[in-house]
């Protein structure tokens, strides 16, 4: 189970802005191609066209990447919380997903093995952290 509160992630990017970016990207790529095409015949003009082509492509790509990052940053993922139930008498252990109403030291259903009362002994979440870069200090 993955509990997350971003299930209804709404797109905040306006279609018109996306369209403008797309047109800018296409035009910049066209300028790049055109610059390469005329490089031999009109080198002075070609350099200017290539410069604008590069600038346009870089700007459009940067803005698109930023938009994507902005949307992905909206996600807040909370790792699943598990409940551990234990029988104090026979040591039988049951680990399950957290349910509303669970709390540590709550007496729950009788043990499946010895019929003695069982207790919730742990409620926690396990976070799988990305491997950290070695830090010498």
């Amino acid at each position: 189970m993955t509990v997350e509160n971003s299930s209804t992630q709404r797109s905040r990017v306006s279609p018109s802005a996306l369209m403008v970016l797309f047109i800018m990207l296409v035009l910049s790529l066209a300028a790049l191609l055109y610059g390469v095409w005329i490089l031999d015949s009109y080198p002075d003009l070609a350099y200017i066209v290539l410069l604008f082509g590069f600038l346009g492509t870089a700007m459009a790509a940067y803005t698109l990447v930023q938009m994507r990052r902005r949307l992905s940053r909206l996600k807040i993922v909370i790792s699943p919380v598990t409940t551990t139930i234990e029988c104090k008498k026979c040591g039988f252990k049951n680990v399950r997903e957290f349910q509303r109403g669970d709390y540590i030291f709550k007496a729950v259903e009788p043990c499946q093995k010895c019929n003695d009362k069982m207790l919730i002994t742990a409620v926690y979440r396990e976070v799988k952290e990305k491997e950290k870069a070695r830090f010498p200090y």
Binding site: I76, I78, F98, G101, I104, V123, Y124
Partner: protein, 354 residues
Amino acid sequence: MNILFYVVFVVFMFYGQRIQMMVMLREVEGSLHKLKYIKEEGRKTAVETVKEIGKPQADPAARIDRFMEYFTIGPQGLDPAGIVWKLEHILDVRDTRFKDEVKLMAPSADETQANNLENTLEAAMALNYIYKIVRHFYLLGKKTYSLYVVMQIQMILPMVMKEAEAYASALKAFAFGQPIGDGAGALVAAKLMQGHETRKIAKDCVVATVPFEGRTAFVIKAEGPGGNVGKPGDAIKEVIDKNNGNIATVVMIDAALKLEGEELGEVAEGVGAAIGGPGVDQYKIEESLVKYHIPINAVIIKEDVGDAVSPLRKEIFDSVENVIERVKQVILERTKEGDKVIIAGIGNTIGIGQ
């Protein structure tokens, strides 16, 4: 190309600061957008939880919106004598007011659920407040075109966002009644008092008399499993007074903020009253200790602000056994057999019974 270089040079010379400000404003705007989303999700969670648990007759949304705008005015500090009692009074009034509001919003909620709902609403309120503050600086910066106004918020933005994200995950924990990182101290106390009779002491606190390594330990914690911090200051004072100050030592256990680079769940030991909050309880504890010259020891469990208010992490849960060992060590080294000691587990006891 040369002309282009000169143009860029002149533009940056005259408009460099403005461009820098625009970049900063853009960054703040991005975070503000995220904060708005988090705040709205928080409000939605609060409304849904109130509807689900409280089963109100009318739609609670309007009342929740009003609740989110509540404020508390601290006491005047020009004449500091007696300010602690004034602060305590204001906090008591605030607490009563919040509890009454929750009762009106969620008439079907029992005491535990009402406490959890109160915590949920407080987290939603905190998110609303953070959003408003960031928005204030963003709009003020835009209005005044002052780099320094924007810089103030831009520089602390990573910390603000971290706190907002922490509250966002806290909302879920409070809504479901899950234990949180701040409850590590309460969890230690709960483990120590397990199987022993508990009795109510002070407001929202319980105490159990536990035989501990040949000593008598009065183990104190806030009453769970509802979201609650209780009044440990009053509880410790009451136990000390009842025993005429005949207490060999007090050991306080609490979660504490870790520094970057420190391990989550690291246990450290020291002296002093390990308790956060506005300072009322710390003041009361210190007063009682000074009166009878009782030594005070502290054991802390290190965690960051995000872990403190979000569902309890395994690392913190696992450190509880280490804490118990440390407490045992402190008591064995600092007291004699037959002595009376107080062990107080501080923190929000949501999701932790006794």
